[in-house]
Subunit: 319 residues, 2 copies
């Protein structure tokens, strides 16, 4: 048996064909058509058909198609409720997909949640029943896996908006309207902002730092600047990274105290720092988490599936 | 069919006999014997037997006995792992209980979680599939119900330590070792401390306030002092309550953004303020929670089962 995972993005539709062991047999991607929901679904179905055909798979051998949606989806009714960057609004995507490709079943999930499921089933947290994925990109995204299944909320299926939990009441303004959200301190954007602020401060005081050299090398200040300068033993860069890790670890310890996951998976751009991030982070979080005695500690690991997490997770939605 | 719920406390063992609809048919309580785990379980079994006998119920009609434990319990192995205020440590409570009263099944849960289940099945959140109970007492306790079941963690069954999530990084010292925990701002103890601090400040400046009169009336500063003075239109008392609600609401909005529960139940001493607490709290939380469009909002309600929440929840563990 096979399953197909669709990762519907604002720019591209990526699709993977997975076997019974959730191994990626083949994958492909096409640009996302703009402004027309039906056209998007039609392209999706065409690419899925192409993958099936070129791998000699029969349509009847495809158990289901999972679709990872960049927004809110309601799996029960097969509806995409809302996508901020695509033209879906209360759209019966499952029904329309089946019109173009008559598969047995279409399953929907939010894309961040699907990526977390992918890492839980076939990636960094393989074999863990409970895990949390924290994606450090433009924002702080989250995926919660409980008993091998996505948990996306009881009343509204809004995904697990862990980035919009306040960790510093009255603190930095967040895009969601609250002040002091985890996202305002731990996203790649926040790290870039903290780095810029430190550079301005140093610049005003005329203090030299490798931060300036690294930023020049890259042509801009990015979420990498502070890590790069820190690796060259710059103390100001280390101060920025330490502050970043303090807030990131605060949020992760919060999640561990609530969920007691086996594994915390770090994904997104900043996760590319790998052990430079996870080693000090683990030390900080182990000291902060609430364990009464000698309980087992959650492991903090880097995501391993990269851009394939979404398609593999979507293909795993029925497992 | 019947079930029995045991609420094992440091001072008393309370037991309830519930019918198939989880209605409390009869209840009783005995002092908790000190220092001897077996004696505690023996008393428990004797009181359970008494309730069965005096209600003309046959032992075979009791489907199971649920025990709410003030600490960490592992239901799979029938073991109380640890209780901070009672002498249990890796204790096979289910097996010992069955020795004294041969029931078909013994189910274990943490007491805060059991109380949340009680409110979800038969109290303030009756009929809700997903809810969070926040207990405002000495600390901030939590219970998480997902799909009508207790969620108590994946790696360690430590309960949902939502009180030990940092909402004000670097802020007030918490008993758990972290700084800025929700518990350090929103427990009854924290409210009492905030009130004392305000009174000290007013006292130093020679500013009069009904806070002093209310404290004198009660013979001490308590978690009620600020609410009582606020009801008499004291602006300083209102400032204390507003601050308390700000932090409490911050933590509740965090939980809503993570769990999207249908209902948030407020229990514990401070919940006695009822609408004086829940009305301003709901207004604050509705403005803070993350909902992309016109999604349904979680309701914030006061617990209704009082001290019976634990025994009813324990009796509901097998439902």
């Amino acid at each position: 048996m096979y399953s197909i995972g669709v990762d519907l993005g604002g720019t591209n539709i990526a699709i993977g064909l997975c076997d019974a062991e959730l191994k990626l047999v083949d994958k492909g991607s096409v640009p996302t058509p703009q402004n027309d929901p039906e056209k998007i679904v039609k392209e999706m179905a065409a690419l899925a058909r192409l993958l099936i055909d070129r791998n000699g798979v029969m349509l009847g051998e495809v158990e289901y198609v999972g679709i990872a949606v960049p927004g809110a989806a309601d799996d029960k009714s097969g509806t995409v409720i809302y996508t901020p960057n695509l033209p879906f609004k209360d759209y019966q995507i499952a029904e329309v997909f089946k019109k173009f490709l008559p598969v047995q079943r279409v399953i929907l999930a939010n894309d961040a949640n699907a990526a977390a499921l992918g890492e839980a089933l076939a990636g960094a947290a393989r074999g863990a029943a409970g895990c949390i994925m924290v994606t450090l990109g433009t924002g702080v995204g989250g995926g919660i896996i409980i008993n091998g299944k996505i948990f996306s909320g009881s009343l509204n299926s809004l995904g697990a908006e862990i980035g919009h939990t306040v960790i510093a009441a009255g603190g930095r303004q967040c895009g969601c309207g609250r002040r002091g959200c985890w996202e305002a301190y731990s996203s790649a954007t926040a790290l870039k902002n903290m780095t810029s602020e430190k550079m301005q401060e140093l610049s005003l005081k005329g203090i030299p730092s490798l931060l300036f050299e690294e930023a020049e090398k890259e042509g801009k200040v990015s979420a990498r600047t502070a890590f790069n300068a820190m690796k060259r033993a710059d103390t100001h860069a280390k101060a920025v990274v330490d502050e970043y890790i303090y807030y990131l670890g605060t949020g992760i310890a919060n999640m561990i105290n609530i969920f007691q996951p086996e594994v915390v998976i770090i994904g997104g751009g900043v996760s590319g720092e790998r052990e430079n991030l996870t080693a000090p982070l683990s030390a900080m979080v182990n000291a902060e988490q609430y364990t009464r005695n000698s309980e087992k500690k959650a492991k903090i690991v880097t995501a391993t599936l990269g851009n394939d997490a979404g398609i593999i997770g979507a293909a795993g939605l029925g497992r």
